[in-house]
Symmetry: C3
Subunit: 273 residues, 3 copies
Amino acid sequence: MTSPSCLTLLTDFGLQDVYVGVMKGAIAQIDPRITVIDLTHAVPPQDVVTARFHLLSAYPYFPAGTVHVAVVDPGVGTTRRAIAIQTQRGVLVGPDNGLFSGILQTFPEEAIAAVELNQPQYWRSCSLSATFHGRDIFAPVGAHLATGVPLHQVGEAIALDSILHSPILPYQPTPEGFLGCIQYIDHFGNAITNIPDSCLPVAWTVLLKGRTIPGRRTYGDGQPGEPVALVGSHGWVEVAIAQGNAHTALQIKVGDSVEIQRCDRVHNSLDTT
Amino acid sequence: MTSPSCLTLLTDFGLQDVYVGVMKGAIAQIDPRITVIDLTHAVPPQDVVTARFHLLSAYPYFPAGTVHVAVVDPGVGTTRRAIAIQTQRGVLVGPDNGLFSGILQTFPEEAIAAVELNQPQYWRSCSLSATFHGRDIFAPVGAHLATGVPLHQVGEAIALDSILHSPILPYQPTPEGFLGCIQYIDHFGNAITNIPDSCLPVAWTVLLKGRTIPGRRTYGDGQPGEPVALVGSHGWVEVAIAQGNAHTALQIKVGDSVEIQRCDRVHNSLDTT
Amino acid sequence: MTSPSCLTLLTDFGLQDVYVGVMKGAIAQIDPRITVIDLTHAVPPQDVVTARFHLLSAYPYFPAGTVHVAVVDPGVGTTRRAIAIQTQRGVLVGPDNGLFSGILQTFPEEAIAAVELNQPQYWRSCSLSATFHGRDIFAPVGAHLATGVPLHQVGEAIALDSILHSPILPYQPTPEGFLGCIQYIDHFGNAITNIPDSCLPVAWTVLLKGRTIPGRRTYGDGQPGEPVALVGSHGWVEVAIAQGNAHTALQIKVGDSVEIQRCDRVHNSLDTT
């Protein structure tokens, strides 16, 4: 009997209620040995775009075979499909509402197959709730997949290109560099753009809300209180304040425009590796 | 050596401090293989009634033999008893203050035996704190029970009917249906009544704060922004707003009166299974 | 193949983002069997002093061999060292910024050896981020240590007395007892002083903000709403309000002066063990 795969959970359920715990109970009923890892449960209610960002940020850092169960599901109980997608690194399980667009568009060559979940023998036995498919469908199916049930047994094959995509805000080239926007603001108040590090010239600055912010290597390269731009751990350019909160200090909002511009001089005052 | 049972934790400790982590340390000292699942730690301080609601909501969804350790304990260090209750589905461990009333009154036939915890060899060795029985008594006893120690070894038998019950607000029949109240408001702002789905006629509406709200099957059956009533995943009638927050939009509070009324027509505009 | 040790995580990352989940992914890539326990992730951003308090509070309650990974790291990406410290109870892993001062000063005889982490074969393979050493260095090194890799393999020996200490606010004797201060306020609003129970005379009172508060044994020894002083579960004198919140009711702040004074009479009105 081989060990089960890891299983991650991402929801908009919060931690005030027992909803997340109950999903873990449903998983433990199938196999209590599954290592369950919370990505986050603090996605704003019904915010598929933020959930998509989180899933993409986390996806590369898990063991091969990991099952990612994501439940941000404004259409629960309606005709939206419940799906599972096999990729080269693992399996994605959740509603077909664009949650997985970030992963599928960033790693298009990794998608292998997809199914619509329509095999109730892999769902929670007893009655099916019309409001909590996380407990009754997604967690049990994810647990069965983590124990080695193959994808084709839990549903009927669907075309990969039939999966719903939510539009990702594009960035575009400008004469001086690239124009994009703020896609997410994290717990530290760091403002994360939609411009990947692959776009960056050797030396660069960020234009944001009329400010020119030097591109550096790490938070500690700025003086405390000074705005800095850098490549965050997720691979996107972000704006931060060393030992401070860029969100509140600079009044940044999701959607604000950002331009990356080439410049002549590298701004790593403290450290230039 | 058989695998230990699952163990759940429910407290009012919050996640700001290390109190929950320390309970898990005490459990790991007994057996690190125990699968520990958090129900919630966001019960308002000393709020036994909310804790009782959460325990009842979660209880049916865990594997047979699961040990539920609940610590909402305004009387810690006083003469209130520490107890464990064997049921057909698992074991309940915590202070004798009404925490388990919801489970015991809803599933009265499942209670098998109860003990008062008075065997210090199953407590945390070293000195006993007068303020943190979660760490020093309830978590260690729960862990020993999860590893297979029988109930009668961890304490002295007490009568099941000696266990403290906290009063549950009743619902009552009216000429048109049933009269109850809001017992809990969840993270999504859904307002959960104390009226179970077993009371519902085929077609029904809810009267709440002067509004008549149609009874439907799922959140997606309403237009975005429209109040809907439905049976929540826990089995009680609840009032929600499709893709919105009923708590803030309708100014609902715990304790508000709710009446379910029979009506002539089923309100499932989008889906009528 | 022996079982891996427990591993705890303490950070200032919050639970809004996937940062904590990603650290657990990095650990699972090394060994998914490691039991990972969250101490807390709600340390205020960059607040090394609060993190130090939490680590010391939790440290005594974990199994022998536990690896404690702590990441509150305002200097990430600068020249601050990354270290691991072997103690008689386990291993401490994190930045060299004073995080471990509380443990090292309270249990000085338990420290055995320390290393600076400079062996990249124990880090996350692929590229090293300049901003997220929790994911790329501390979690992987901690996981390798939990699986049994010896300390001297993950880094180069450094002198124990070279480890950075952050100053701990001292308490001092007075003619009537001891003078100290509030070092932390917890989720319940309990105000925890820096005066350990070992200082306490048989009968005592606390002077705080002009009030004289009786020293008792447990929360339940006060009338609801009454301020009480007692020895908290962590071993320090704290000020609480029975079934209330001392922080808000008495307007206590971290840093407020506190004096313990001997008195003639024990104040255990309800219970005097």
